[in-house]
């Protein structure tokens, strides 16, 4: 298990290295650079100014050389300054990472808590009115664009009930209740938007689990319907759901651009988007790499959880000596 985890971590580092090169290259290939932005915004800019600033920011050097310089500094813990905010990149990203995690973590937890019972309920009575009703709600949630949902929620909730703010994150040093008030609408939006997918997934997994042999055996043994559903089928059906939840783990840190924008929530999604549009190379690059890193971590977590929940899966190497490597 330890060796498996170490191998996967090494693989992750390699993937991050490749990703850093790809992302740096892609950002570098995007049209325009910070100096172009200054030229188009400032009529007094001279050719000498442009040359001087390109040299100052290293933009007159080849992309590969710039990447090498950035990587060397990054390996020493120096991720550079944000051009948009004039602050170290870490100082910008860390609080936003926290805010995004609070928003998306709460939403993901709520989504899972609602989607599991809904999926189980629908699967317990497949093709019944209940199932059709739940499916309809799911498809509505999947189909509705989040920005529209956000606007409707603001109109339906924040306008008549002014105790619920239409956006923002609360005053500095605000208490828990104040934070929760501001969290309410963005969380509801994200939860409603993602509940459909999870419920459909849960329903499918449950229907499949209920057809398994051990469920037939359990029924033959005369176990109660609730016990079969919860104690036997659900445990079986949860395994694929874990993969989906773990893969969603990465999104906890990459943000939800539309929801964050609609509710003025200073999260990772909005920050990465603004950095990309604003030619803030350092901020965009480190933001994207952070999201990549957490997505990779989510994958490892999913694999490890699999082993914990399913005794059939082992990370031991084959004992007969003929096989090598992992079996996950």
């Amino acid at each position: 298990m330890l060796s498996y985890t170490a191998t996967r971590l090494l693989e992750c580092l390699l993937v991050l290295l490749v990703m850093s090169f790809l992302v740096y290259g892609l950002i570098g290939l995007m049209p325009g650079d910070p100096i172009d932005l200054m030229i188009s915004a400032n009529p007094d800019f001279t050719a000498a100014d442009a040359q001087r600033l390109k040299a100052l920011y290293g933009l007159d050097r080849p992309l590969l050389e710039r990447y090498g310089t950035w990587l060397w500094a990054a390996l020493q813990g120096d991720f550079g300054y944000s051009r948009l905010y004039q602050q170290p990149v870490g100082d910008i990203l860390l609080p936003r990472l926290g805010w995004t995690t609070v928003l998306l973590g709460t939403s993901l937890a709520l989504t899972v808590m609602i989607a599991i019972p809904l999926g189980v309920w629908a699967a317990a009575r497949p093709y019944s009115r209940v199932d059709y009703g739940i499916n309809m709600i799911c498809f509505a949630g999947i189909s509705v664009p989040p920005f529209w949902l956000a606007l409707i929620l603001i109109l339906l909730v924040a306008v008549p009930f002014q105790a619920i703010p239409a956006g923002g994150m609360g005053e500095a040093g605000a208490g828990l209740l104040e934070r929760l008030r501001h969290l309410f609408l963005p969380v509801v939006t994200l939860t409603l938007a993602s509940i459909g997918g999870f419920t459909r997934f849960m329903r499918g997994a449950m229907i499949q689990a209920l057809r398994a042999d051990h469920i037939r055996t359990a029924r033959a043994k005369g176990l109660s319907r609730a016990r079969i559903l919860i104690g036997h089928a659900l445990r079986h059906a949860l395994l694929p759901l874990i993969t989906v939840v773990a893969l969603s783990f990465g999104t906890l840190f990459s943000g939800a651009l539309i929801t964050e924008t609609m509710f003025s929530w200073s999260g990772m999604g909005r920050t990465i988007y603004e950095a990309t549009l604003g030619n803030d190379y350092n901020l965009a690059l480190v933001g994207l790499l952070t999201a990549t890193g957490f997505t990779l971590a989510g994958n490892i977590l999913a694999d490890l959880l699999y082993a914990g929940l399913d005794p059939r899966i082992s990370f031991q190497t084959a004992s007969d000596g003929t096989g090598g490597g992992s079996t996950a």
Partner: protein, 556 residues
């Protein structure tokens, strides 16, 4: 499935309009919504509207244009003139004709910590900006000032190495608190100053501010809270606290206004006019909505390298074929006045008798015929094998401009011009296509300039961007006319009022005749205010309404 009655009622209430908090602003706090967050609060880095708007509450430029478009002193006792001897000609250090301009600071001005504002702050600000490594936006101004001569705590003379006629305005020389910023500036390389400045590391330090308000709290990307400045020397402002909140999505911005989370939407950085008109239609009763046409000059840059568009009669025919008044009336509720040149009618230098083009498609077609552009078998005009065919570009996602584009395409099609629409994201459009002259027809966008601003960068032939000059200059059309160059140079150096008036007349006449760009209209800013807010006067130029925040108050 039936919607539960209570939910349906709630939905209806929300959609048709609930009691709105139009009078919700209180004396204790006014919350203003804007759609952009300033990247820095340092007055000389990153020129952007959001920063000017917030800075208007907490600091003042030495001079500014007031809401009546008159240049006025905010920190000085009077504008310098040749007549009173505060402006004299002299020879610059490099031997070129220069000038000495003397200002006196108003008495009694202090920074937010009580330290007097003196000429030492002016001299320090010049020193920082004059160092090109510092990278101030308005470096050209600092470069033009050879030295600052300090006479006493209030009086100083700028020795300028170029003789120009715009010497009275000094809005770009932003004061810096020498007692705070000097040790910071001197403690490292000038190139790093933008990261080390107290405006970045300690922006709530009262000593950085000297307006009616000072910055109390900042949550980056979210809001800036400003409190009364107890050391403000002017008229006391009405509101105890002003919060400027950033909500980038304009639909969410109006929803926040309706929910009472914000009290008003700033016209300078708020919603587009079509959104404001729609909002007014539904909720106009509950809010005070002001439309203020200003210096945003929406126009069509016409590339001069195009075989058809380089001909003046073709450009004149194109403008005659556009019903600009109908565009303004039908798309913008008549709130955006038609432009006849690049100079706004509110500007004191505007010339009313310049050539104007009324909508006349027949005359446009006749003009093209006369110029040899005849209708071909496919309905498109041709001349010597060249088709009257070009691309019409603008910023993708800008709904107003995209609607105007559709009208232009249809109206030009009616006179035999084949127009293809191709739009790009703003970043690509401005930074790559327009500024590097990579468009092959017409580009629709806006300029924002100051009143009485000489359009040298957009019209002089030495301002055509090219590979050789690192794409410096804003003459994107490639317009080159020695007569225009002469007028522009005269405007910069021949300062007698009657000469200036004549040159401005000549400039506007030549512009409207040559049509290097086709004027469309002047964009209006939309202010969505509480019904009981008084004293806010939209300016229409680059100096925001917040510079006169002392006049804002709620009707009792």
């Amino acid at each position: 499935m039936k919607l539960p009655a209570s939910l349906a009622a709630l939905l209806m209430l929300a959609l048709v309009g609930l009691p709105t908090p139009a009078d919700a602003a209180s004396k204790e706090r006014l919350v203003i919504g804007i759609s952009q967050f300033p990247s820095t609060l340092h007055p000389s880095f990153d020129s952007m509207l959001a920063k000017s708007y917030v800075a208007g509450l907490a600091r003042r430029p030495i001079t500014a244009y007031d809401p009546d478009w008159n240049l006025t002193c905010l920190l000085c006792t009077g504008l310098p003139t040749y007549e009173d001897g505060t402006v004299t000609d002299e020879t610059a250090e490099d031997g070129a004709p220069g000038m000495a301009v003397t200002y006196s600071l108003k008495p009694g001005m202090v920074w937010g910590d009580g330290t007097p504002i003196t000429t030492a702050d002016v001299a320090f600000a010049w020193r920082v900006g004059h160092d090109r490594e510092t990278g101030f936006d308005a470096y050209e101004l600092y470069r033009r000032i050879d030295r600052v001569e300090v006479h006493d705590d209030r009086r100083f003379t700028l020795h300028i190495n170029k003789r120009t006629c715009d010497f009275q305005g000094l809005s770009d020389l932003n004061l810096l608190p020498a007692h705070i910023e000097r040790p910071i500036f001197e403690s490292g390389a000038p190139g790093d100053y933008r990261q080390r400045t107290a405006y970045q590391t300690d922006p709530t330090n009262p000593a950085l501010w000297y307006g009616p308000y000072r910055v109390k709290d900042i949550v980056t990307g979210q809001r800036i809270v400003l409190e009364r400045n107890p050391n403000w020397w002017g008229e006391s402002p009405y509101f105890d606290e002003i919060v400027v909140r950033t909500i980038e999505n304009t639909a969410a911005l109006t929803a926040n206004l309706r929910s009472g989370d914000i009290d008003m939407i700033a016209g300078e950085l708020g919603i587009a006019i079509d959104q404001a008109l729609a909002f007014e239609e539904s909720f106009g009763e509950d809010f005070q909505i002001l439309y203020n046409p200003g210096l945003f000059y929406e126009h069509l840059d016409v590339i001069q390298d195009h075989p058809a568009l380089k001909e003046r009669p073709v450009r004149q025919a194109l403008i005659q074929a556009i019903d600009r008044q109908a565009i303004s009336d039908r798309l913008f509720g008549g709130k955006q006045p038609v432009a006849n040149s690049n100079v706004n009618p509110l500007d004191s230098v505007y010339y009313a008798d310049l050539p104007k083009y009324a909508y006349d498609p027949e005359a446009a077609a006749a003009k093209l015929e006369e110029a040899g552009w005849t209708i071909g078998p496919d309905g498109v005009r041709t001349k010597n094998g060249e088709r009257l065919s070009f691309t019409l570009m603008t910023t993708a996602g800008n709904k107003s401009r995209e609607q105007v584009q559709q009208v232009l395409q249809a109206q030009w099609d009616a006179i035999g011009a084949d127009v293809a629409i191709r739009n790009e994201p703003p970043r690509v459009f401005f930074e790559q296509t327009v500024s590097k002259r990579r468009f092959d027809g017409v580009a629709l966008f806006a300029w924002l300039s100051a009143p009485e601003s000489i359009p040298r960068t957009t019209l002089h032939s030495d301002q055509i961007p090219s590979e050789e000059n690192s794409f410096i200059g804003q003459n994107y059309t490639g317009y080159a006319n020695p007569e225009m160059d002469r007028i522009l140079e005269g405007l910069e150096t021949e300062c007698a009022p009657e000469t200036q008036a004549r040159l401005w007349r000549e400039l506007q006449t030549l512009y409207a005749t040559d049509l290097p760009a086709i004027p469309l209209y002047f964009r209006a800013n939309s202010y969505l205010l509480p019904k009981n807010l008084e004293g806010l006067t939209p300016t229409g130029h680059q100096f925001p309404s917040t510079l006169w925040v002392e006049e804002w108050r709620l009707a009792e």
